[in-house]
Symmetry: C2
Subunit: 362 residues, 2 copies
């Protein structure tokens, strides 16, 4: 992985036209409508026939086992409303910019995922005494860092035994769309998107830390390419706002009439509950508290709605918002660079021109 | 609209992370699954309450009228399977590159659209004797070319009276997703995407050619910014293939094992029936015919599947495909530049490395 100057390269563009973020006006919906949730596909979307698909479970003390799609769906169904964010969200704001999918702020979405709880599947397979991790293998294949591979990620065993970790086959009460992992994907609330392995093919118990590409090379915070780095796990806090007013097609600058407007958005953290959201209208110099809708205690992994009433004065403004969580996490005003461009939760900045009606105002 | 050198700008990236193409492996499906059909939204996706939404019909001889969502849905339902392509598809291959949504090849999709036929709605409103065009206004608002506007496009009256032009409220038998025009959009088979006005608010009869921004400034083929230009209408022929083998994550180069592989794809034209598809493995020097699946005569506006069996030899190859239609149209091997970057139907080029298993082969 190299880096680049300001200019987005053809390689990055190829990724940006395939994958997509969530247009930020979709923050209005508590559950992201189909097709608006962010999608990142490392290789190609596999074409899967659910009649022949099976999930292999390998290395259990009860012997190997296989679950058909019907067998997964016949198990007790559990749902979880979960906000999912790509670990690379915010990457394209970094300078120099790490070369990969060039996300700005939009790589997020919230869905109601439905499926079978993973824990009893593992228990029935027989969890070995020396198991430390579980390795999840997807059907998606390609070359990355010059290494041919299927997408694989491991998860510590204790995370796998949570009651809200699912083998999901539904998204917002419909079958998984192909690009979201049809027929079955892993769902791990609170963790960045790379954890939620799509198009699941195989689950294996492991006594040693998994050393695959997506664990050891990718998805680590590094200041130098040669250092071991810190593995990514849970989402850092982030707030995003619905950009107010109307956009310019090309620059996406916002135009708004003077007067009172409700600025609204959502905030989430994989570390702890959101404890505060603040708004700035001067690019982060001064901050005022927003009102948070505490949401449902049944949905601890869903983003929280927030709002703030702004009396907009004519002129140019840079609106910002930032979230704090109960673990003490807070978004930085400035980007924190790292080699691969992960976990950049610097505050959102929205350029707004406030001008009277008859200008370009809303 | 300016242009740029090789480097994609931040403004283009902002569009590319919001809008998205159809990942080309989705050519495998005759109907593009939800969320994989291309999306281009000029401004923001409007949030519409279908209980209060109404479609205003203005300028008819029977007096103005309004249709509620229930009234649109209670009319006779018609469906049409239609391939839709953005007029800007292929723009980012042009040099110098016109600055707008930087599409490569993926701005396409095919859906079964369901809705009410437009013609009887117009007839009931009373078509004025002097009507030459019908103007369609969407709810989406923004600034473009420094002009505040709602998205508006006109269509010649005779096109509006076709039996397959719909006020569509269904996509693949589900309600329209927000990003595809909920609750009601126009569907005009054969024309480029900009014709199919989303989030319809108003329909007006016009005696004079409509001079709005999206008609007179945008969506015209020009060699010079100051010339009047030729308005875009029907889609030029294009064939696309499912890129064979597996991709490199970053470069999207394909890796494939030697031997026999079926190369498959789809082809369409808004001008006439697809009459031939040809394939090249040497970047367009030599061409061989592919086999076309004629599809259903009930679906004249749907893309046609095609395939070709390739015995792949080790080495580097550039695969291309091109479509011809019954009107004599054929895709050019090289790009044809124009100011705004429209209708670039130059042949697709897919870089493939064929190497034995044990390399990166599939």
């Amino acid at each position: 992985m190299g880096d680049s100057g300001d200019a987005i390269t053809r390689d990055e563009l190829q990724l940006a036209t395939r994958n997509h973020g969530m247009p930020l006006e979709a923050l209005r919906w508590p559950l992201t409508p189909a097709g608006l949730h962010y999608v990142l596909v490392h290789y190609d979307i596999p074409l899967v026939d659910e009649r022949t698909w099976a999930l292999e479970i390998d290395g259990g003390t009860a012997g190997g086992s296989r679950l058909s799609f019907d067998e997964v769906r016949s198990r007790e169904r559990q749902t979880v409303v979960m906000t999912m964010e790509c670990a690379g969200n915010g990457r394209a704001f970094l300078e120099p910019r790490p070369l990969s999918q060039p996300w700005l702020s939009e790589a997020v979405g919230t869905a109601r995922w439905g499926g079978a709880i993973l824990r009893p599947v593992l228990e029935e397979a027989g969890i070995p005494d020396d198991a430390r991790e579980v390795v999840f293998t997807g059907l998606d294949r390609g070359v990355e860092g010059e290494i041919p591979q299927q997408y694989q990620r491991s998860l510590p065993l204790d995370e796998c035994l949570r009651d809200d970790v699912l083998l999901a086959y539904e998204m917002n009460d419909s079958p998984l769309p192909p690009q979201h992992g049809f027929p079955v994907r892993l769902i791990v609330p609170g963790w960045y998107g790379m954890t939620n392995v799509k198009w699941l093919a195989k689950i294996s118990f492991a006594a040693e830390p998994f050393a695959g590409y997506q664990q050891e090379t990718a998805y680590r915070l590094r200041q130098d390419p040669d250092e071991e780095g810190v593995p990514l796990s849970r989402m850092l806090p982030r707030a995003l706002m619905v950009p107010p007013g109307v956009p310019d097609f090309m620059t996406r600058r916002r135009f708004l009439a003077p007067g009172r407007h409700t600025i609204e958005g959502r905030a989430w953290s994989g570390e702890a509950e959101i404890s505060a959201v603040e708004v700035s209208i001067d690019g982060g110099e001064h901050w005022v508290p927003a009102t948070i809708d505490r949401g449902s205690p049944d949905d601890p992994w869903a983003w929280r709605a927030w709002s703030w009433d702004w009396t907009a004065e004519p002129g140019e403004h840079t609106l910002c918002c930032r979230a704090r969580d109960a673990s003490g996490g807070i978004q930085p005003v400035d980007e924190r660079w790292n080699v691969h461009g992960y976990a950049n939760n610097a505050v959102q900045r929205v350029a707004v021109t406030v001008q009277p009606e008859g200008g370009n105002g809303s």
